[in-house]
Subunit: 439 residues, 2 copies
């Protein structure tokens, strides 16, 4: 890790800069794959799966016998762990329902907002060597709570043509059976455009490699929504003198093992904690199965010594990390000043990895500084919020004249007329009523 | 309007299809403009403004004297209308705050969610002949409620180099003074990348022509968020026999006057209402200043006679309109079955144009079928929702073992270690406490 001692604020932007990857060529290549699938449907998907995954698929969907076989291949202990995680994720996301009950914004003008599920969603789950069944929990549970009717899962099969049993077990555990054995840009394309056998969906979720991410960005042009443009995983840790260097080191490494392009940032106001943490990182990394990956990630990672914890928070807000651990005495107080972050972990007993699996919060979070403008996935991500309004006769009387004036000022006469016509009808109704009263 | 009598469901998709525009060339052209601004900053913006708007700007920002001059150029009546609209918009959006208070997902595991404003936002407001000061109200008010610190407005100046007074008055009325005299793709680029004089923002909002929309879609690749990809405006009206043909016709025309590419769809279960409405459209269109525009829009618009109102709702959900008027006896009941729509207007006294200006709901809404996956702009659009979690010793004991199992199954050992290390430390602490108790 590169170490910075009390860097000037003017240097922060450079320290916080993520590595930039040249995207243009990647995008052009992925666009061709998408066009191929849009044009040739199943045949294109089959051909691309043969080319990139090295397998031939007659049927893209996982069959019932494959589901059944998976059940026996997952340990009972792991099944219990999945049930516990699912329960906590469900509990937290279930708190996220929010509608706006009718409010009278003016006399006779009632406005409210209701939620509706996105009817058809696609969940991309990376597979292969590291089967991310945890991502399936994180995406499928809020989709089900929201009431999405059609939930399609797509995850690449291994060389054997089989999907990892932990993913198939988790899907069944949640009651989901539409699982495509597809990976890469072709999986995204199939769900975005639909093919002869794959239904199209309205929104695509899930992490993936750079091809998957590029495909997700590009299908937006066809009107398909995506959860967010996900990049390499990140962690920033803020620690003070009461932090435990061994804990902090293990947290930094848990992020570094994700991939060579993962980034970890360590910010502290304590020189001793800085040194001990760096030493602990060195000691712990040696025993990791993925130590080469972790070392590569550490090479582009940073340790920053700052004057005090306010500066640490300001630095973190500049970086806008996906994950933020605050391992300080006053973690709860500092949390109030965090503006840009995906998910925040407080105190010495809250490693980031609990959020990856089982605390209940969502682990699909904005990376690469996107936390400045994006939130992580939540129940909201699977819902649309529709506004409703109802005016009665008093209502159109109350706000109609203002609408007429504004529409005319915007030179939209038909907008004004739609109101004027009603105001005139109302005037006639009232005259008629008056003359009846006079009789 | 093209009329369909009781079309088969299999024909609905075709009837609902929007006109498709070839985007590739447009995108390539806009990408060049964006690159130019990213490379050359203010000089590029100045050059493109000269080229496309025909004006030379020394300073891009509106000056104090220009603001002051605008105040006198707006009628007092219009000022009152703007105040009324602002008040209603503020009332409705103020109901949209929602945080998730701490919930214990497991013993010792506390999770919650808080809102944070997006610090820097850019609002694009179309100008020129039709100055959309109403869009400024719709975007700036929730931005201010959310607490966005930096709110940059960009709106094109006319040939005189001046911004329309109604827009400048509205900005001042809201207390906003950072107004750029820029339009088109160069305005979006300046706010997305920043220049020597224009600060970059994290999210860009607002309607615009096809160049503005293309620019918004493309800057997403640079990590800048956008409200939504906005297309031509749309309205679908569902009417039964109690609807008033003159009212419905005025609503259809209020949408048709927006632009030649606007689309209006009229769905009814009553033959007489259908005929009378079409006749009323013909009668009313003749008096409109924008009748040529409206007629062109009507040419690609559709009237559909269906068997009953359930079919009307199903048809509307297939189309997924930006605006939906339900002018039926049982409008409130039908509203429950609306799944895909941006904003819904109920009953005979709720013309769509009240939502454009003053009912209080937002008029920045998903078009082109995007209502299947997107919501309109709301307070949420200007906030990020950050999740927090805090485990105490009991918490890590409670869920730690499940996390270890799941991380190991995903072959992420360092993730497991971050928990195991803490569980071991806890065990040592407890042993030490026990031996002290024994003494």
């Amino acid at each position: 890790m590169k170490t910075y001692q009390y860097p000037e604020r003017s240097a922060w932007a450079d320290i916080c800069a993520r590595p930039v990857f040249e995207q243009q060529e990647l995008m052009a290549g992925v666009r061709e794959l998408l066009d191929f699938v849009q044009r040739s449907g199943d045949a294109a998907v089959r051909e691309l799966t043969r080319r990139f995954d090295g397998i031939h698929l007659d049927d893209f969907f996982v069959s019932e016998p494959e589901f059944e076989a998976a059940i026996d291949q997952v340990d009972e202990e792991l099944k219990d762990a999945i049930a516990l995680a699912a329960n906590n994720i469900r509990t937290f996301h279930n708190q996220q329902f929010h509608e706006v009950p009718p409010v009278d914004t003016a006399r006779g003008v009632s406005c409210w907002r209701q939620n509706r599920p996105i009817e058809k969603v696609g969940l991309y789950i990376p597979g292969g060597t590291a089967p991310l069944f945890s991502s399936l929990l994180m995406l499928a549970i809020p989709a089900q709570l929201a009431g999405c009717q059609e939930i399609i899962i797509s995850t690449p099969a291994g060389k054997s043509g089989k999907v990892h049993p932990a993913i198939l077990y988790t899907a069944q555990f949640l009651g989901l059976k539409k699982v495509l054995k597809l990976g890469g840009a072709q999986a995204v394309a199939a769900m975005a455009y639909g093919t002869e056998t794959v239904p199209n969906v309205y929104k695509i979720f899930g992490p993936g490699n750079q091809y998957v991410t590029a495909a997700k960005i590009l299908v937006q042009e066809a009107g398909v929504a995506i959860d967010m443009p996900a990049g390499p995983s990140e962690l920033l840790v803020i620690a003070d003198k009461q932090a435990r260097p061994a804990f902090v080191a293990s947290d930094l490494l848990s992020q570094a093992e994700h991939g060579v392009d993962s980034q970890v940032i360590f910010v502290t106001d304590d020189q001793k904690v800085l040194e001990e943490t760096l030493a602990a990182v060195e000691a712990q990394v040696q025993d990791l199965p993925r130590r080469e990956t972790a070392r590569a990630a550490l090479a582009s990672s940073k340790a920053v010594l700052v004057a005090d914890l306010n500066e640490a928070v300001a630095f973190s807000n500049t970086y806008a990390p996906e994950h933020l651990i605050i391992a300080t005495e006053n973690a709860l107080e500092l949390a109030d000043y965090i503006i840009n972050a995906g998910s925040v972990f407080l105190g010495n007993w809250t490693p980031e990895s609990v959020g990856d699996y089982a605390s209940g919060t969502n682990h699909t979070l904005p990376t690469n500084g996107a936390a400045r403008a994006y939130s992580g996935v939540s129940l909201d991500s699977f819902q649309k919020k529709i506004t409703f309004q109802r005016l009665d006769r008093r209502g159109i009387e109350e706000i109609g004249p203002a609408v007429v004036l504004m529409a005319e000022a915007e030179q939209l006469r038909a907008h004004a007329d739609a109101v004027s016509l009603r105001l005139q009808a109302l005037a006639r109704e009232m005259e008629a009523a008056d003359s009846q009263n006079t009789l």
